[in-house]
Amino acid sequence: MTEKKNKSMIQRRLIPTYIFLTIFSIISVFPFLWMISAATNNYIDISKGRLMPGAFAAENFRNLVSQQPLARAMTNSFVYAISVTIICLFICSLAGYGFEVYHDKWKDKLFSILLLAMMVPQVATMIPLFQMFSKAKLLNTTIGFFLPMISTPFMIMMFRQNARAFPIDIIEAARIDGLNEIQIFFRMFFPTMRSTYAAAAVITFMNSWNAYLWPKVIMTDGKSLNMVMLIANTIGGYKIDYGMIMMGVLFCSIPTMIVFFVLQKQFAEGITGAVK
């Protein structure tokens, strides 16, 4: 009896908390819902402030497809993001494993030098990289897109931190069993660290799907654009068609929203991954 009373008292005291969290949640979600409903309305209804979904989704989609290379941009985005994710995970997990399992004074020093790359701003490297890549004929190519993105201090740090939990006994036992160092990495480390790989994959995919400045610099031919560039192009027109643009934004957001809702836990782990 008293416990029940106690519980209801606790809940009553939490009422301001519930109100605050509810307001904040509504503010967080509202722009999304508005985007989805605007994608189904025409210009007139949207500018009148209509919030309910309308019947113009098909028309907005037709306009979008007729004015922008939607299929091409979607394909490009997937190719870019998936190739970055696969290569980045491979290279950075190798390095994180190497820095942790074989660590000595020199490797620790090298690691702290690599961390300095976190401070290098993208605007500073984009000019020389643009020059290098245009000389190497890498403009408008997938390789050009992924080269600067496949090795990041953040990802190396994340794998290094997580490799700490990997028991050294397993490595010793595997060595006695006659496995060489590379086999140990692929047969022991890789399967054990599945959850770290999942978190790293989610965060890398999101970052490369959403990349804007770098593709804007090197994708110069109009055919190699990604989804983010496509929707940025839609607002450059003389006449701004809200419904059509929001349809584009919706398409650009669908993959990241699926990742978010299905893999939210891994996404949160990926964000905080390097700081344990």
């Binding site: 490297t125 959403n210 957001s253």
Partner: protein
């Protein structure tokens, strides 16, 4: 003797494997980050067009400090930094603290909602906010309907309000992101610490300042560094939300550097000088932060 020799080669083999594992990543960072940084510095001392570049010493740097648009972009960027980062981080800690309550119901739902803005790309949310705050946008519609305004206010066409819209948008996008760090940090704090404080009669406010903030200090410093770094490199929002306007009132450093290098007449030398300036500011601020954070008490 033979045993020992074999052991040596095994250790040598392992050592070689260790270096081999980290070589690809190290090479990539050296070629894609450090080398371009050096190139950028060399470029910043040059001026010219196409293939004809010649050294001019520090003239690009001198020009920078007389370039009104650049100075304005520096001012704007620091304005965003000074207003937006504190608001966002305080909100994020507060939300994490509220969500860390054991008695709270619908925790998962609230967390998902607050975290949701992270699922949008920067360009997407910049466009959404651009339309929400347009002259015929939803915010103006609501204000007119509520009778607060006679006609739509040109939020994005007025300097002060355009800056505010950018700050609101940034807070919207990044608060949940930072909250995730604090939630992870809070979960490392034993719940019994809070219960002990409650028994000792400390109220919510006191436990917040007495327990949460000191124990989260490393996380706070890290999120602070990340936010500073991110704000100093703002690009997507400036381009797509306000396009730097009205009259460069909201342009950021990265946006202006991009325009200098890739719009109209490209000037890589001058752009590199400005970019190098950004790098120096990022480095100085990160260094100060780490120094402040290092004082253990």
């Amino acid at each position: 003797m033979e045993q020992k020799k074999k052991g040596m080669t095994l250790i040598a083999k392992q050592k070689a494997a260790g270096w081999a594992f980290l070589t690809p990543a190290t090479l990539m960072i050296a070629v894609m980050s450090f080398y371009p940084m050096i190139r950028a510095f060399i470029l910043s001392l040059q001026t010219g067009k196409g293939a004809n570049y010649r050294f001019t010493g520090f003239s690009n740097y001198a020009r920078m400090f007389q370039d009104r648009v650049f100075l304005r972009s520096v001012g704007n960027t620091f304005f965003y930094l000074a207003i937006q980062v504190p608001i966002m981080l305080v909100l994020a800690i507060l939300l994490a603290q509220l969500l860390n309550n054991r008695d709270l119901r619908f925790k998962g739902l609230f967390r998902t909602c607050v975290f949701l803005p992270c699922a949008t790309s920067l360009v997407s949310y910049a466009i959404i906010f651009r339309f929400l705050f347009a002259q015929d946008g939803l915010v103006n519609n609501a204000l007119v309907k509520l009778g607060l305004l006679d006609q739509g206010f040109n939020f994005l066409g007025t300097a002060w309000s355009a800056k505010m819209v950018i700050i609101i948008a940034l807070v919207w996008r990044w608060t949940g992101y930072n909250m995730v760090f604090y939630l992870a940090g809070l979960q490392n704090i034993e719940y019994s610490v809070y219960e002990a404080a409650k028994i000792d009669g400390a109220n919510g406010w006191k436990t917040f300042w007495g327990i949460t903030v000191p124990l989260l200090k490393p996380t706070i410093i890290m999120t602070f560094i990340m936010s500073i770094n991110g704000t100093l490199q703002l690009f997507d929002e400036s381009v797509n939300l306000t396009n730097g306007g009205p009259a460069n009132a909201t342009i950021t450093m990265s946006h202006y550097i991009y325009n200098t290098c890739f719009l109209r007449a490209p000037n890589f030398g001058y752009g590199s000088a400005m970019a190098f300036f950004v790098f120096i500011i990022v480095a100085i601020l990160a260094f100060i932060n780490l120094k402040v954070g290092d004082t253990r008490d």
